[in-house]
């Protein structure tokens, strides 16, 4: 008898739960980064959750975000993740592709199954995704050059530090940087070094370049790798940066870099809107799925240009996790 009561009451609870869960229709969006081991994606994830929360409050739908991906950057593994979420019949997918071609097939399969797919951060232009939300890396590179010239003047030797040679986004940034520098005949890019996305190797090559080119005036760090290391690890660069003998512009706007900018080691930052990767992607998916809006092939996510003048606003944005308020102008 006791057991019977237990089973019946459990059944009733279960029915009640499923009934309440069914009331508002739930929409599930999968938000898939390149890798789970890269911290910049976590901010995007928070943005995605934030927008889902806002939209759920607004009603009439409930929104759920599926934050899934391969642990490390791996196109094959990522394709499997996409297949998984298609099998789970999600209502929309936003993905940052590890490889433009390797993901075409699974993206098209998802679209054929009736699931709208959009790309963010890294595109797969030949797939049937309905739009791409991304930064214009080429323009970012040009901005970096402008920031550097503003700081160091129109004369002198500069060097570039890249991650893995051949990575499309990094190459685009450097292409933009070179284009902008070309307008100044007295500025010469003397060397380009690679650190293979490794902090240790980054620190090492920066110091080597500081030795090989004692007259160096400017640096363009195409990513922030060596800046993750603590002060004291790059004595030559630090000394020159503090003495305003060498000026450095870097990509990204993580808190470490903002701190260095405030302390005077860096003179400018060009950052992607990580928060928007999630926040805007979910917003676009919502507008597409619920409202049936049409979108252009490419949506520029814009960039944050940070200098000494507006660095405090950016630091505040990180503290409050509020990236919606526009930054004050950099100059």
């Amino acid at each position: 008898m006791k057991r019977f009561v237990l089973i019946v009451s459990l059944l009733i609870i279960f029915l009640l739960m499923s009934a309440t869960a069914q009331q508002p229709k739930k929409l599930v969006f999968a938000w898939i980064p390149k890798a789970l081991n890269n911290p910049v994606f976590e901010l995007g994830r928070d943005g995605a959750f934030k927008r889902a929360e806002e939209l759920s409050k607004q009603g009439p739908y409930k929104f759920e975000i599926l934050y899934v991906g391969s642990v490390a950057s791996d196109a094959t593994e990522q394709a499997r993740v996409v297949e998984d979420v298609v099998a789970r019949k999600v209502d929309g997918i936003g993905i940052s592709c590890n490889d433009p071609t390797a993901l075409i097939d699974v993206i098209n399969k998802a679209v054929e199954a009736g699931i709208p797919v959009m790309t963010w951060d890294a595109d797969s232009p030949k797939s049937k995704r309905f739009t791409y939300l991304g930064v214009n890396n080429y323009e970012g590179g040009r901005w970096a050059a402008k920031l550097l010239i503003k700081a160091m003047g129109t004369k002198g030797d500069v060097a570039m530090l890249t991650g893995v040679p051949g990575a499309l986004n990094l190459e685009e940034r450097m292409r933009g940087f070179r284009y902008e520098i070309k307008g100044y005949p007295d500025i010469k890019i003397v060397t380009t070094v690679a650190c293979y996305d490794d902090i240790n190797k980054g620190v090492q090559v920066v110091e080597e370049v500081m030795q090989a080119y004692p007259k160096l005036r400017g640096w363009f760090f195409v990513g922030l790798w060596p800046l993750f290391a603590e002060r004291g690890s790059m004595p030559l660069w630090e000394k020159a940066a503090k003495a305003k003998k060498v000026f450095t512009v870097a990509f990204d706007t993580l808190p470490v870099e903002l701190q260095l900018l405030k302390e005077g080691y860096l003179c400018g930052l060009v950052g992607q809107k990580y928060w928007g990767w999630g926040y805007d992607t979910i917003d676009i998916l919502y507008r597409r799925v619920v409202k049936g809006e049409k979108f252009p092939d490419w949506i520029d996510s814009g960039m944050d240009i940070v200098t000494k003048k507006n660095v405090d606003a950016m630091i505040r944005a990180w503290l409050l996790k509020d990236f919606k308020t526009p930054l004050p102008p950099p100059f």
Partner: protein, 330 residues
């Protein structure tokens, strides 16, 4: 070693050529000479210590892996162990457990992963390649899982001292990691050449069957070398973390290849039974001198991997040729 040294009569003048390491030492010397002439910066004390510091953690781990390779094994987990040990220490430091405990924790985790490697190889009889491939992935997964992908920063100055301090000797500053490397090199070298344990390590690699028949507990020897390799790798990982002041979960990715290459360039035979610590040290130095040299020369970054690969192959070919001529090779 063995009887092949005396196979060929040599004049006394060329006696030094019979030393195993002289070939690669010559290569290192030629490389350095070329770079000293070609660049104004190579032969400065700043640069030399910069190079020495840069390969110190690779070399320390390579001391460990050379022991493993001498027994005929391999350890692919070294890169991950470097990252994990540095990370554990960094996390313990951030939890205010103090320098001593944190450093001990990092070293023990390295030794522990090494011990597991040893167990898998000697007790579970897994091929070393497979066993350490597995632990490489497990250790890396822990790095990601424990941090959620974020690097651990803001370590205390007292810890960074180990990686950033230069000991002033005769007016020049010798980086602490370099001193640690030299001390450990001497200790491991003595261990391999002057103790029964060392003799047994060579014996296991030379002919495992014969070693077992002569009463050597080969399983225990393997357990020992893998554990020591883990421990030494952890020392390297900690020094690197102290130098950078940050422990990234992605740190030291792919370093296993650099570490293995250092040992092999240094004359450690992948088939086991052969190798010296001095050779490993020179091997690690060659790798770093090549890398730094390329940057100092302004060699295009995109072509550097090819150039480094080609020079390594040429260097090994030269060394093999020399050994054959001297009758040092079977």
């Amino acid at each position: 070693m063995r009887n092949r040294v005396s196979r060929r009569p040599l004049t006394q003048v060329f006696k030094f050529q019979r030393i195993q390491e002289i070939g690669i030492l010559l290569i290192l010397f030629i490389l350095s000479l070329f770079l000293s002439i070609a660049t104004p910066t190579f032969l400065t004390s700043t640069n030399i210590f910069n190079i020495l510091r840069a390969f110190s953690w690779i070399a320390i781990s390579a001391f460990g892996i050379s022991m493993v390779i001498i027994t005929g094994g391999i350890d692919l987990s070294v890169g991950s162990v470097m990252a994990l040990s540095g990370l554990i220490t960094a996390m313990m430091l951030r939890a205010n457990l103090g320098d001593f405990l944190s450093i001990l924790g990092g070293l023990l985790i390295g030794a522990f992963v090494g011990f597991i490697n040893g167990l898998l190889v000697s007790k579970a009889n897994l091929p070393p390649f497979v066993a350490t491939l597995g632990t490489m992935s497990i250790a890396r997964g822990f790095c990601y899982g424990l941090t959620g992908g974020w690097p651990v920063r803001e370590l205390p100055r007292s810890f960074m001292f180990w990686g950033q301090y230069d000991i002033p000797i005769l007016g020049i500053g010798i980086p602490l990691p370099v001193v640690v490397m030299i001390i450990l090199g001497i200790v491991v070298s003595l261990f391999l050449n002057r103790t029964v344990w060392g003799y047994k390590i060579y014996a296991v690699g030379g002919n495992e069957q014969a070693a077992r028949l002569s009463g050597i507990n080969t399983g225990r020897i393997k357990l020992l070398v893998y554990t020591l390799c883990g421990l030494l790798t952890a020392v390297g990982g900690l020094l690197m973390t102290a130098r950078l002041g940050v422990a990234a979960p992605t740190a030291a990715s792919g370093y296993e290849l650099d570490i293995i290459a250092s040992a092999v360039i240094g004359g450690t035979s992948l088939t086991g039974g052969e190798g010296t610590i001095l050779g490993v040290l020179i091997g690690a130095a060659i790798m770093q001198v090549l890398r730094t040299g390329m940057v100092l020369l302004g060699f295009p970054a995109y072509w550097q991997p090819s150039a480094i690969g080609a020079i390594i192959i040429l260097a090994i070919m030269f060394d093999q040729y020399r050994k054959k001529k001297m009758g040092l090779l079977r």
